[in-house]
Symmetry: C2
Subunit: 103 residues, 2 copies
DNA sequence: TAAACACATGAACAAATATTGATATGTTTA
DNA sequence: TAAACATATCAATATTTGTTCATGTGTTTA
């Protein structure tokens, strides 16, 4: 059971878009930083030593792919992962990168 | 339990490298095509309508990241996913891309 | 309202990357 | 060995993409 389904070329492209977003160290750092609890843009920039502009640009891409969502709290906007789905996947992959080298 | 572990900056970079490889539609198509059983380079190129050169290039990258492995069978070389680890992740992600739109 | 603060956006540039075409390497068959 | 076949590699090109700097938008406080 659990038959293997080969995605259509369109689905493949969509899937690739998501992977592509995850394929950048800066974006991954942002995502992991927001994993535990929501973080403001300024906090992200300061903690990760990135320019505010750069963080905003990346957050826009991540927002566009529904990987994160932000809600305003007074002047600041706090970003968190979009849903458990995404965070589970990240944690899962993080584990994978640690346990390397079978074979 | 299952405490969230934030990867080091180095680990993040390594993880990103893997995601980056998965973040190309052509490579994803190659991977899914080899999911069920090993496929020769020529078969991949013909079936996916890609030049032989392009397929070889991509396979080299995938090999370098230990995402696929190939074994020679006479003139041809048959490629398959490196381990269950990789294929499980791919199938998993393929499922994710289908079930969209919570919220 | 004006100034200050937090974040978003646009243009521009440099670096990375996918793709192509030609050629090389290695394996088999005549 | 030579020719044919399958795959790999090299060099070059065109596109994509991450980053920066300057500026714009929206919210709060004086």
């Amino acid at each position: 059971m659990s038959k293997i389904t080969i995605p259509s070329q369109l689905d493949t492209t969509i899937l690739a878009e998501t992977f592509k977003l995850l394929g950048d160290p800066t974006r991954l750092r942002i995502l992991f930083f927001c994993l535990e609890h929501p973080r403001s843009v300024g906090d992200i920039a300061a903690s990760l030593d990135l320019s505010q502009s750069l963080v905003s640009h990346h957050l826009r891409l991540l927002r566009g792919a529904r990987l994160v969502r932000g809600n305003r709290q007074a002047k600041q906007i706090f970003y968190e992962l979009a849903d458990k789905h995404v965070s589970d996947m990240l944690v899962d992959m993080a584990h994978h990168v640690c346990e390397d080298g079978d074979d």
